[in-house]
């Protein structure tokens, strides 16, 4: 009866062993089928109430996001009474958030507070005695949501959203005035294009902030990579000040990635120690290396560690050659207490030219009786912190932290682009059909949709604004 397919993270926020993303509605099975790849079978049918193991995959890039267990409950035999899919993946903000983003990208709508329960009631899955509780739930959650919305309304986010809406309102009013009072205007030219361009920029800036907001909310992934036995685990321990990783002089000791959450300037950072990468490792070690590569791919930042006491090797060069120019790196030469076999210039020379690593850091963790390990690793920590905070600052000082807001901003951006095309101002490939240049009544549909999407973020939807604006700005009518 309610139409949309909804999705939400159903487990409590914070760190947990597993987390659940729940999807409810007619399209839930279809959406799950598109994000889940089963292990050991290429089947895409899901039997009811059967657990499947596999991976959640970003459908466009085919990137594996997480391991997952999924199952399907066909309506009406489900909590909400509709078709429901549940995806159990690893707990913690990052994987759950990514899975929810992907599911919403395929057309699910982020659920309103209490919406699963409301649907359960409306579909007759809860009895009469529970109806009162449902109302309480809607009310209390909404009150909390309202409170949160108001907090944000006082912040700069709503100020910026409001500014963009104001620009769109101006364009809508002009289009409305020209359509409803065609005789009041001379010439048809260039309605609202400039306004739309500026609105598009405003939304794009807010979306940049969404990425930074994700960082603040979900944290940054940092990995330490390097060939075996260069001192990665020592660095890891120095940064976390615990003997969390086993340190031993035998190459290949770290067979699995070790992870720990750190706080850097208020931002959660997931630091990962990885197995050293080299060719020709035996089977168990090779698995660790495979995992290290995956960890590197998922990371936002990486520390590439070299061993200053031995000449640069083929393994070092192979790792350097595989670094991803999209990521930011800190390059360090360790074992600075031993005689050095090469200098910073030689180390820099093995990096591909497109990798920006800044100045190479020298590191010595040997006990000098004066500084703690943490202090010795201080330069690396400062560099990482600079990159973490810099990444946020570069995004925007405005943080869009909610998936729902991000989805609404993306919708607004797409509608504005389509509206610009309809007005003949470039932008997307074209209106709904690709060719309505100069048609303000079609552009209006898009601009209004963008305006409403932005209004949902700040909780304003009144439509009379447009007509008020027409008569404030234009002297039209008889």
């Amino acid at each position: 009866m309610t139409g949309d397919t909804i999705a939400a993270v159903s487990t409590a926020p914070g760190e947990g062993g597993i987390g659940v993303v729940r999807i409810s509605g007619d399209r839930s099975l279809e959406i799950m089928g598109r994000v889940f790849v089963r292990v050991g079978s290429c089947g895409t049918d899901f039997a009811e109430r059967t657990v499947y193991y596999g991976h959640i995959v970003e459908p466009l890039s085919a990137e594996r996001v997480d391991e997952a267990l999924v199952f399907f409950m066909k309506g009406p035999r489900s909590y909400t009474g509709e078709d429901v899919c549940e995806i159990q993946c690893h707990g913690g903000g990052v994987p759950l958030r990514r899975v929810l983003d992907i599911v919403c990208g395929l057309g699910a709508v982020p659920a309103q507070p209490g919406e699963f329960t409301k649907r359960a009631f409306l579909n007759g899955r809860l009895d009469l005695a529970q109806a009162g509780a449902v109302i309480d739930l809607i009310r209390s959650k909404t009150a909390r949501g309202y409170h949160a919305a108001r907090e944000q309304a006082e912040g700069r986010l709503s100020e910026r959203v409001r500014a963009v809406r104001e620009v769109l309102l101006g364009a809508l009013a002009e289009i409305a005035a020209r359509i409803d009072y065609p005789e009041g205007f001379e010439g048809d030219g260039g309605v609202g294009i400039g306004a739309l361009r500026s609105a598009a920029e405003g939304v794009a800036a807010l979306l940049d902030g969404a990425e930074a907001g994700r960082i603040v909310r979900d944290g940054v992934r940092v990995v330490i990579v390097g060939r075996p036995n260069v001192g990665k685990s020592s660095l890891f321990n120095a940064l976390v000040r615990e003997d969390a990783a086993i340190v031993a002089p035998t190459p290949g000791t770290t067979r699995d990635a070790l992870e720990i959450w750190l706080d850097m300037g208020g931002v959660p950072v997931l630091l990962t120690d990885t197995a050293g990468m080299r060719e020709g490792a035996e089977e168990i070690e090779a698995l660790g290396i495979e995992r290290a590569k995956e960890q590197y791919e998922r990371a936002d930042l990486a520390v590439f560690l070299l061993d200053g006491s031995e000449p640069l090797s083929e393994a070092d060069r192979a790792i350097a050659g595989g670094l991803d120019p999209e990521k930011k790196h800190v390059v360090a030469i360790g074992k600075g207490d031993l005689p050095q076999a090469f200098g910073a210039a030689e180390a820099a020379a093995i990096l591909p030219p497109e990798i920006e690593a800044g100045e190479i850091v020298r590191l010595s963790l040997i006990d000098d009786g004066q500084r703690t390990d943490k202090e010795k690793a201080g330069e690396i920590e400062r560099r990482l912190e600079g990159l973490v905070m810099g990444g946020i600052a570069a995004g925007s000082s405005l943080l869009v932290t909610k998936a729902r807001h991000k989805a609404l901003l993306e919708r607004a951006a797409a509608e504005i682009a389509e509206g610009m095309a309809a007005l003949g101002g470039g932008g997307a490939s074209g209106g709904a059909d690709g060719n309505f240049a100069g048609a303000p009544e079609f552009a209006e549909v898009n601009i209004r949709a963008a305006w409403e999407a932005l209004g949902e973020i700040i909780g304003e939807t009144a439509t009379d604004d447009i007509i008020d604006r027409v008569f404030e700005e234009f002297c039209v009518g008889k």
């Binding site: 409803d180 009072y181 309505f436 009544e441 009144a462 007509i467």
Partner: protein, 629 residues
Amino acid sequence: MKNNYEIIVVGAGHAGCEAALASARLGKRTLLLTMGFEQIAHMPCNPSIGGTGKGQLVKEVDALGGEMGALIDKAFIQSRMLNRSKGPAVWSPRAQADKEKYHAEMRKALEGQERLDLCEGEVIRLLYDGRPDGRRVAGVLLRSGEECRAAVTILATGTYLGSKVFVSDRVYESGPAGFAASTALAKSLKEDGFELRRFKTGTPARVFAGSLDYEKMTEQRGDENPVPFSYINDEVNNCNVSCWLTYTSPDVHKLVFDNLGKTAPYGGHTTGVGTRYCLSIEDKVSRFPDRERHQLFLEPEGLHTDEVYVQGMSTSLPEELQERAYRLVPGMERAEFSRYAYSIEYDCLDPLTLTPALAYKGVGGLFCAGQINGTSGYEEAAAQGLMAGINAARELDGLPPFLLDRSEAYIGVLIDDLVTKGTEEPYRIMTSRAEFRLVLRQDNADLRLTEKGYEIGLASRGRYERCLAKKQAAEAEIARLRETKVTAEAANKLLLAVGSAPVKESVSLSYLLTRPEIDYAALAEIDENRPDTGKAPILRSAAEQAEIEIKYAGYIEKQRQQIAKFGKLEHQTLPEDLDYAALEGLRLEARQKLAQIRPVSLGQAARISGVSPADISVLMVHLGRVKNH
């Protein structure tokens, strides 16, 4: 003697005439009362019908079986499709009317209507029938002392109810155009407990065409081949009398500005709420002081009069200053006045007191239509009159009300706005008010509404059959355009000639039609088997439908999806006797608003200001509870 009626309509303006005709056509013995026969379907302001949004309303009234479209087709002296430079979704027909002819044609229609009696008489009081379940209107008392009884009364008092005319600091009781005001009825309605509010409007002076210098103005011609308003007409006369465009000047503005204190509102003489939709010249110069000029359209009032309406110059300046201000306008230097401008205040109701069927909520047996409901405009009035007439008749037959929603018609937008949101100024329809305007077009009002009009017994069989024929022909033409393929060579010859990108393979005609450079007419040279629209006029409108549906398919489909979503809430009805005070979980403001407005559906509830999405959730849960029980 005047007691043998089922429905009485008070007032024979644009609302009252449509209400009375609809009521009589639906089989009800109907009495239409007017204070004077000269006032029947009179146009006290612009001599024109239609315009943006308004033109769509007229076509909808026609599609349902109303009268306005057919009459303006007989009485127009110029007709134009506005917005032709934009897409068909916002095309709007507008005609200049011969006022006298329109009035005469309506009078003929009323007099010729079976079961309808037209009678002169001033209503001074409503009669009531005290019942255990509350008061019910039982008829009306005339100034003559005569009582007219009927089960339902429709009030369509226009700008006559308690009306006063203002010119500068002079105020006097008067209806529009010098006709008498309905003062006694206004007084008795207040005594009976109706809460009335004061709205205001104004009209410019009329001048004689012979005193104008059109050489200094720009001619405004109508269309060479006017599109009929009525779907029953294939073609109409091609009368094309020009209007003339001129402008105010800084001199005019200065004179008005210097004398603002001598106008009624700025001098503090009026209290009524005016409309932003037609500003007086004093409002224009004080609200838009930077504008160097404002447009003025000179519109002839008919074929058999020399009077010209000066659109854009309404004012309540004293007569002597009116003459001076008008004569500063280029081309009007020697203007001779036949009537002076005035502003007029009148009593009306808060439309939140009405149901979507336009029944008054507090008292039984009473419907209201037109300016009494807070609107302005002949077309808005006609649309409400038609709906009130239909619903009054249906109430007597014990049938559910006939309602149109916002996705079906401009009529639905108009009435929903009034009864859900209310209005704080005289309300005018605009296409911008219609969220689904891409499908609410002037070209398809028949396809949207005629079947409904036929089902309720108002639209004639002949009209319905015409509509079906158009629908079938349009569907056939869409299918033909989709199925007919042309070679890439043939297509490219056409595409390259208009500067559109060539194609590589053979394509369908419908594909070519989606190119902005190609319209249906342009396809003719490679479309050998198209139906000969010259033979059957219905094929012309069918081809037009096919062209629009194919060309704008993407946006139309998008809008249809929005309508489907809209319909989900709209079709969940709320019980009439729902006790909002007892409903747990509603916020206080929502509770009060819901109890006052008593929405008929969840969709309507959601549009009430002060009702939040959470309140709607609470209502949904309540509905679920009732259903599950």
